[in-house]
Amino acid sequence: MKVYGKAVKYGDNVDTDVILPGKYLVLTDPNELAQHAMEGLDSEFTERARNGVIVVAGKNFGCGSSREQAPIALKYAGTRCIIAESFARIFFRNAINIGLPVIECSGISAAVSTGETLEVSLADGEVRNLTKNQVYHGTKLPPFIMKIMEDGGLIENLRRKLKGERV
């Protein structure tokens, strides 16, 4: 699995309240949620993400609330992958579970600038900066998590597993 896109970079401790403010949690349409992605932090995000972006961030990305609407909003706004120094654990699991690729990569924040083009190879955790011609090594995900991502999320993964069990 490879993803490709322009980087848009944020700092440390980006919380789920700025990714998707609480007042929008009554919305259920992913495309409506997407219109408010990053509203508390970057009013231009939805415009920038439209054609596909890779979000790059510092430590503890997605801290705070367990709201899955936060990764859903990012995904449907056009985020193809999130690379951060570290993630808040619930956000990390939520992203995987909805099929939004996430990679932990130490040093990524200092190495990448907004606007640079990145290519991410999820299976081996490798991030290529095509603008600067550099390679960064993120943490490889265990095979069973890769399988969830390849299946497009936990529900499809589980559906297939349960189907297989019955056969």
Binding site: T28, N60, P142, L162
Partner: protein, 423 residues
């Protein structure tokens, strides 16, 4: 092993587990509420199973957007009720429960030694009873509802030993704010935090819940406290036939990533200044900060002990005319007790508004939102930008005592210094 490891080993059917290991754990209870639950219901329907794995082990609570303020919220509640009926799952509807993290222990769904997952980040609150409890997302909650199982990485554990005695008006909230100030908002990311020490042993269930509740604000997977007599005194009569677990203790040779010691003898009232929960200062070093709104409530500080403390300060005094004060008991049970003890009268006479049990202003969903440039002192758990309304509003997190004192003076006030303000 320490208690977190022991619980996970048992749930995974293993003799022993160690940090870093990924286990497939049997879940005892899964909880969803009205803002995360509808997504769960939707995800569950896509899995392709007809029934939940065990209807007795699923708990639904309507608490975030209650009573519904919009047709959209009402529709979400309808989705939840319909699912509960169809799957014969327990639902605590409006007027029957309150905030999920208060309701689950009150109604006997939380037992020491169990594994509890909930589609809410403050699920870690139940660690106060010696359960392994952690927050998950909606989709994952659906998977657990279908299978009863979840993969978990066994966390490293940070032990926080707390000794000493609280001074008057210093509370468990001031303690946990001070811990977060020292460790930082990513200081315990992916980790377990185990609270030990004399001060924890002497602490009430309410105080222990406040400590464990806010461990997620440091990124922790769970907070946990060894169950003891205090735990069982609370659970007695609430859990059907549950026998005290007497052997749930960390081994003497248990491993910890590190141990941090706190002494609370000289702890002063603390506040977490906006926009970060680890931006913690003693109230005394804050300077003059005028306040527009005071909120006393939430899963962090909406229990009897919190309301009693706030009422002790507000009794015979008035909320400053520049402030609106909102008091929200964490559950129907707390509300009723507050009513019987005369606290609702105290709050009302002081000029505070008392609302029915809900998460309310804490998450800026439907009541008590802030306008631009307004300042709120809140007993809740997050002061992020935009958390309680306008992104230009500011939220200071504090104890119920500091919040009540600030309501009286109109600026952020150390409750110990209020004596000089005439009743």
């Amino acid at each position: 092993m320490n208690i977190t490891e022991k619980i996970l080993a048992k749930a995974a059917g293993e003799k022993a587990v160690s940090p870093g290991e990924i286990v497939d754990a049997q879940v005892d209870i899964v909880m969803i509420h009205d803002l995360t639950g509808p997504l769960t219901v939707d995800a569950f329907r896509r899995i392709g199973v007809d029934h939940v794995w065990d209807s007795q082990k699923i708990v639904m609570v309507l608490d975030h957007q209650v009573p519904p303020e919009s047709v959209k919220a009402a529709e979400l509640h309808k989705t939840m009720r319909r699912f509960a009926r169809e799957q014969r799952v327990r639902i605590y509807d409006i007027g029957r429960g309150g905030i999920c993290h208060q309701v689950l222990p009150e109604k006997g769904h939380v037992l020491p030694g169990t594994v509890i997952v909930g589609a809410d980040s403050h699920t870690c609150t139940y660690g106060a009873f010696g359960a392994f409890a952690t927050g998950i997302g909606s989709t994952e909650a659906a998977a657990v509802m279908a299978t009863g199982r979840i993969w978990l990485k066994v966390p490293e554990t940070i032990r926080i030993t707390i000794n000493g005695r609280f001074k008057e008006y210093a509370t468990p909230k001031d303690l946990i704010l001070s811990v977060i100030g020292r460790l930082g908002v990513d200081g315990a990311i992916y980790k377990a935090i185990e609270f030990t020490g004399d001060a924890v042993r002497h602490m009430s269930v309410a105080g222990r819940m406040t400590l464990c509740n806010m461990t997620v604000e440091m990124g922790a997977k769970n907070g946990i406290i060894e169950p003891d007599e205090t735990t069982w005194q609370f659970l007695k009569g609430r859990t059907e036939g549950a026998q005290p677990v007497t052997d749930l203790k960390s081994d003497i040779d248990a491993c910890y990533e590190k141990t941090i010691e706190f002494n609370i003898n000289s702890l002063e009232p603390q506040v977490a200044c906006p926009p970060s929960v680890d931006n913690v200062k003693p109230v005394s070093e804050l300077g003059h900060v005028p306040v527009d709104q005071v909120f006393i409530g939430s899963c962090t500080n909406g229990r009897m002990e919190d309301l009693q403390l706030a009422a002790r300060i507000l009794k015979g005094r008035k909320v400053n005319e520049s402030v609106r004060a909102i008091v929200i008991p964490a559950s129907q049970e707390v509300y009723l007790q507050a009513l019987q003890e005369g606290l609702i009268k105290v709050f009302t006479e002081a000029g505070a508004i008392v609302c029915g049990s809900t998460c309310g202003p804490c998450l800026g969903g439907h009541i008590g939102l802030l306008a631009a440039d307004e300042i709120c002192v809140s007993t809740s758990n997050r002061n992020f930008i935009g958390r309680m309304g306008s992104p230009k509003a500011k939220v200071y997190l504090a104890s119920p005592a500091t919040a009540a004192a600030s309501a009286v003076t109109g600026y952020i006030t150390d409750p110990g210094r209020l004596r000089s303000v005439n009743k």
